[in-house]
Symmetry: C2
Subunit: 81 residues, 2 copies
Amino acid sequence: MKAHVYVMPKASVLDPQGQTIHNALRKIGFANVAAVRQGKYFVLSLADGIASSTARAEVERIARDVLTNPVIEEFTYRLEE
Amino acid sequence: MKAHVYVMPKASVLDPQGQTIHNALRKIGFANVAAVRQGKYFVLSLADGIASSTARAEVERIARDVLTNPVIEEFTYRLEE
């Protein structure tokens, strides 16, 4: 089983990396892009045979306690068989 | 419309950030995690009323030419209405 974890700066937090990419895209002519946000993406390979409920609980703890800075970031995740 | 772009180091490329996170997780007791890969996650907000086919073509160009280093990374993306 794999877990995909997506970490993003909260909407209220400035995102200078995303802003820089947005500026670059406008300069090279991509006028259809109104905003860019940059976050992190993690793929966790989980042990074979792990129960879905266990996986869900562990991934949530890992995402909340290790992968995300709760002051400025928020996460979502999905499990893949 | 929003585009979600996921950039990952290719499977053949070492991922020291993912490795470091994996080691940290094992040390603090998450034994069910067999591997970790770290990549980047971008959310592009696209102009209102853009056609789906135009969005697809632009996002692919942006992902391939700007967001991804094709020597060591690969990308996937999805569009969201």
